[in-house]
């Protein structure tokens, strides 16, 4: 009987087998890192907004407190976005003719709100509550990053469940005193356990499914 395969096929098969195994391993490794990469989590993304609002200028430069614009952050699940009147409380006096602010003036004129694009999105099945976090010692910075250094708002953290759990498992490291919630660049003073007690946070419960998924 004649040979069906060329002698070189033997070597080629070995290469294919080993290569295939290595390729599978490589795919697994790549998948692992892609899954966590900003490409999929959206970390660092800067969505285009109707007005290129600079947190760096308003928070870092002017020192406006977060709650001046996000008024319901300590009273509601939703932090609240400023309405046009809030903008106009200053910009009716300052930069009244700036081209950049034209959409704001248009919004006021037509009595139609500005359509801001949400930067920190959570899935619908996650019940996130701003009030619960802000009144229990979690600073704005913990999730939104150094907004005082963001000329344009960007997603500071990966916003994955893993990232949520990191904090829910060890909340003490992130806690701040009540008066430092909106502070930027706050360094924890190492009194996390005392704060845990003070805020009455039950660490055994906050990793349960029903805390976030109802």
């Amino acid at each position: 009987m004649p040979q069906i395969f060329h002698p070189r096929i033997n070597g080629l098969t070995r290469i294919l087998l080993v290569g295939g195994a290595l390729a599978l391993l490589a795919v697994a490794c790549v998948a692992y890192f892609v899954d966590r990469s900003p490409y999929l989590t959206g970390q660092g993304a800067v969505p285009e907004q109707p007005v290129p609002f600079s947190h760096e200028h308003h928070v870092g430069g002017l020192g406006i407190d977060c709650r001046y614009c996000h008024t319901s952050v300590d009273r509601s699940t939703f932090a609240g976005l400023p309405d046009t009147y809030t903008c106009m409380s200053c910009h009716s006096q300052l930069w009244t003719n700036a081209q950049m602010l034209a959409p704001v003036r248009e919004s006021l004129k037509q009595d139609r709100p500005l359509v801001w694009v949400r930067v920190h999105k959570l899935p619908d099945f996650v019940y996130f509550n701003h009030q619960a976090h802000v009144t229990r010692g979690i600073g704005c910075e913990s999730c939104h990053g150094r907004v005082d250094r963001m000329p344009l708002m960007r997603q500071a953290k990966p916003m994955t469940m893993q990232w949520c759990l990191d904090c829910h498992r060890h909340p003490a490291t992130a806690l701040r005193p009540k008066d430092r919630i909106t502070a930027m660049g706050y360094a924890p003073a190492g009194n996390g356990d005392a704060l845990l007690h003070q805020y009455r946070i039950h660490t055994d419960r906050i990793t349960e499914c029903v805390i976030c998924h109802r």
Binding site: M1, I4, F5, Y32, D35, R36, T41, P158, T160, M161, Q162, W163, L165
Partner: protein
Amino acid sequence: MPQTTPETLLPEGLTHTTMTERIAGLVLEPRARGRWRLAFAVSAALALMFVVCLGTVFTVGVGLFGVNIPVAWGFPIVNTIWWIGIAHAGTLISAVLLLTRQPWRAPVARLAEAMALFAIVCAGIYAIVHLGRPQFMQFLIPYPNTMDLWPQWRSPLVWDFFAISTYFVFTLGFLYFSLLPDFATLRDRAHSRGLQIFYGVMALGWRGSALHWARYEQVNRVLAAVAAPIVVSVTGIISLDLAVSLVPGFHFTIFPPYFVAGALFSGFATVSFLAVVTRAMFGLKDLITRRHLDYLGRMMLLFALVVNYAYIQEVFTAWYSGDPYQRAVYINRWTGPYAPAWWAMFVCNSLLVQLLWFRRVRRSPAMLLALAITSNIGMWLERFQIVFTSTYASYMPSAWGLSGPTLWDLLVALGSLGLFAFLLLAFVRLAPVVSMHDMRVSIYRAVHKEKSGD
């Protein structure tokens, strides 16, 4: 010395040469037989329908099925269990008969193994369908994900995933393993270059080396030894889906062995069905003899009896539990809206199979074929009544509600039968229906016995 000469399992004058020519010839003949082509066309159409219907169900949603509260599991799980059951006898025939050195194994083992693989394909697809959200199937796999979540190890659905995938890989490996030397035979006999390369690649360069055969036999024994535990554990785990719940009619401790017996019963019925069909379709009446059918019939009877033992246990324990809910489920099965299913099951699985006590029935291909079909219908009805009658009327009368299949349920079920037949028919065209190397051993042993006996 036995007084009567036992009817031979091998035809007169069969040698290695003639057997190889005949069986390899079935695969290598250039034009398929008419009956095969007709069956293949029909099954291909059904398989296509299966793909289309499942595609629709996946894109539109499982709402197309008749599943609803309270019968949340409905047809998909009934068919999952049914197909898994059929898959089981394949492995058992092959493995346990190998371990116990049963001489009637060789001609039916290949059919059984192939049937096992294709039935587990259908079962696996149905298992994904029955999840309800097939797009999240990967949540059953433990992998480091960005949710920091792991599968819920206390859930039988996770066990199912491991059991079914293990079983799938095992049946695939077992079948391929048994085909390996036969692929070499086909490679050496193929005439066209394309077939030479196809069988050549599949045969891995098998050259019948004595050392290779020795290792082959070692591995065969290992595979056969783990086959029985796999068979028992996989169906046992499937049954726990139901049994670990609190639903009266599901919660029975006998479910694992009961499902295993049911699986083997329907599996042996299917092997009998295929054996009868194959020997007629390919003219193998001298290789798959009436004596083989007799043995298959005996196995069917054995497992039917175990199933009936489980029925008795279930009914008695439901009463003996003293629990009014457990008792009500049974009264409901006999008299409720699904009662025809129970009584039909009773006729198929408890009454008709008793015919298998008679030797003449076991040896009649027509009778065995008929009983194989009724037994499989009976086993399907058994799973139907377990799933439907247990859930449609549970503790709270306010939550009661009837449920029935929609057209989609029926089309997908029919399509899965088509897929099974399609794969099996394609298989018998591409690979020998009878294991040639096992037959060679049988022939060798027969010749050897003759030599040493005389």
